[in-house]
Structures are given as C-alpha cells and as structure tokens.
Subunit: 191 residues, 2 copies
DNA sequence: AGTTATCTACCGACTAGTTGGTCGGGAGTC
DNA sequence: GACTCCCGACCAACTAGTCGGTAGATAACT
C-alpha cells in the first residue's frame, strides 16, 4: 500500500511543514528533495490539501501509537506527563522535528484549507483528551494535585508546551529554555 | 511623514499577518483592499520584507507605549500581569486582532527573511524584559510569589499566553478558553 | 508674477519566476 | 490487458518586483 516513494514524499512534506508551515512549501521543493517529478507527487496526493491531510493523519496515528506505548510502560501519572514533555525536549535537542506540526498549522489556521483545519482540530482534541485522562487518573490516585479540572490542567500544560516551543524556536532551538519553561508547568501539578 | 495611504497599507498588512502569517499574504491582497495599485505599495515599502519589518517595528512601539501607559496607571504587580493577559483576552473576544503577530511569525521563523526574524526576536526580548521587571518588583514587594526566577516566571507566563492563543484559535476564537488557561498561569504567581 | 526645476505620491503595463495542477504516455508487474 | 508507478511537457494563475510616466505640490530663480 505505502510505496517507498509515497512514504518519502510524506516524510519530506512533514519536515518541510515543521520548518515552514503549510503556505511556504511547494511541490517543487518536495520533488527536488525526494528526486521525483512534480507529477509523481500529484499521482499520490492529488492536491496540496490532500498531502497535508495525509501528513497530519499519519502524525495523529503516530501520536496515538507513541502515547499508547508510553502509557503501557509508564504507569505513574506524573511520569507520563514528564515523558510527554520530555519527548519534545528531546526533539528540540536533536533538532530533529523541533516543532509540533499541529501547533504550527494552528497558527496558520485561518488560511488553511478546511480539510486540513479539521485534522488540526482533531489532533488538538485527541491530545487534550489523552492528557486529561492521565491527569484525571493522577488526581484520583493522589499522584497529582490541581485546583482546576483535569481538562483545564491538560490545556494549561499543552499551552505551556506549545508556547515553550515558540520561545525555543525564537532562541535558535534552545532546548534548555524549553525545559525550564515546561518544568515550571509540570511542577504546578506536583503539589 | 506618514501619509494616509502609507498608514492604511501598514494597517492592512498587519491585519493580514494576524490572520495568515507572512507567507500567505500578497501585495495584490493589500492593493485590492486598500484600493491602490501594487506599485504604490512598492513605492512606500520597496520589498515585502521591508513592509513586514515596518509592521513589526510599529507593533513593538505600540507595545512599548501601551505597556508604559498601563504601568503608569496600574501600580500593583499582579494587576499589571492581569492587565497584560486581559488585553489579549479582550482582543480575542472582540475578534479584533486575536493573535500576537510576533507569536505567529515566531512559528514561521525559519522561513522568514533575516530582517523580519530579527524584529520578531527583538519583540520577544522586549516583552520578556518588561514582564520580568514587573515580576521582579512584585516578588520584592511580596505581591507575587514564585519558586523560579523572575525571568523564568515571565517566560512561563508568555508561553501560556501564546499557547492559549493557539488553543483559542483552534477552538474558533474562544475567549473563555483563553481566559481559563491564562488564569491558571496567573494564579501560579499569586501564591 | 511667471516660469522652471524638483520632489512626492501614485499608477498601468510589464517582467521573470513560481505556484498548484493537468495530460498523455512509457515502463514494469500481475 | 489492466493496473500501478512514474515522468516530461505543458498550463493558467499568481508571485514579488520594475519600468516609464503622470498629477500635484513646493520651492527657486528671474
């Protein structure tokens, strides 16, 4: 189903979105980097919106898988949150994919094709949903404390992570800065 | 010095950047909305980067003026932070300019012309600097509490505000959501 | 006062290059 | 023969930016 070329186009598109967002990458960029004709990209993804949707859909799946695997390994709620934040800290440190594509696309939201915007919203909902579950469990077991609801706490954490990503990007990819901001957000839940 | 047309071009460019970012607006868009020829825009701002730099430079000045006036009126540190956050809450509620252009451009940073990127960084530095001063004063007077340094506290607050902007945008301009996230960030400093 | 020179604001028409997207066809595989 | 994968060549629309030129105001010189 997923050809090598298909996957490489997807990979390339994702890394271009991470650095430039939706509006500033082109089929020509991908064609040049992957080493295929522009028409090939259109063969796999009829339109630019289709390509972006495929990227985010795969990203959502990867997030679901990754979070599931992590939750299976890590059972304590506070450690789960720490793992989520730590994942991004590592991404920034490795300069690998130092930005959540959903957060980037969220900023561009009003200029996005509707199908793409839907995917972005869906990712946000899923992410908040998952973290809310972790926090709820942590509040029940007493591992976490919060004056706010679990959902609000999840939203505050995600906002801190996304804001910290912006700060780190402005600071030239400063992983320490990201860490110092998000640590403070985590401590809020650790009593 | 500042002609009417000049200012209107600047206004239009700013509102386009707020909704679409740097890469997704064009001289044609501005020309159509302002009702001038494209060449007129080039007359006032030779290149697109010049236009963007002018927008952010004016934005930085407006921020400096606004924060200065606010600090003159509001003397308590916690109320100053509340005023900063409240300003953005109002912007989102009025659907006026519901996003900080510096935060938006920060996301696009790697694809920005160097001069524009410089302006974005400068705004971040200034903003963090101002809020750090407010918080330092609050910590000295005992109006605020924080286990972290004043600068880190400022960065956490800004990150929360920017992250909350993203969340509100994804939620279709939900000012209540922005408020609930940022309130939690403020309470962290109110002991 | 009248003419001339200079400057700013502006515009229509143009350019070279890029954008996303189409089309017909070739190569290989089942 | 049908299907997938891929490509070169092409397209209309759009991109930022340039060009020569016009209208009007201001100033300068006679």
């Amino acid at each position: 189903m997923a050809t090598d070329t298909y996957t490489r186009i997807l990979d390339c598109a994702q890394s271009l979105i991470v650095t430039r967002g939706y509006n500033a990458f082109s089929y020509a960029d991908i064609a040049a980097e992957v080493g295929v004709g522009k028409a090939t990209i259109h063969h796999h993804f009829p339109g630019k919106a289709d390509l972006a949707v495929a990227v985010i859909a795969r990203y959502r799946q990867a997030t679901a898988d990754g979070m599931g695997a992590m939750a299976a390994q890590v059972t304590q709620a506070d450690m789960r949150l720490r793992a989520y934040v730590g994942f991004w800290e590592q991404c920034i440190r490795d300069n690998n994919a130092p930005f959540c594509i959903a957060a980037l696309l969220a900023a561009e939201l009003p200029s996005l094709p509707p199908e793409v915007a839907e995917q972005v919203k869906a990712h946000f909902d899923e992410l908040i949903g998952r973290l809310t579950m972790f926090i709820e469990e942590g509040l029940r077991s007493g591992a976490l404390k919060s004056p706010d609801s679990a959902e609000t706490s999840a939203r505050v954490l995600v906002a801190s992570v996304h804001g910290a990503m912006l700060a780190a990007r402005v600071a030239g990819g400063d992983a320490e800065l990201f860490s110092s901001i998000t640590q403070a957000a985590l401590q809020r839940l650790n009593g």
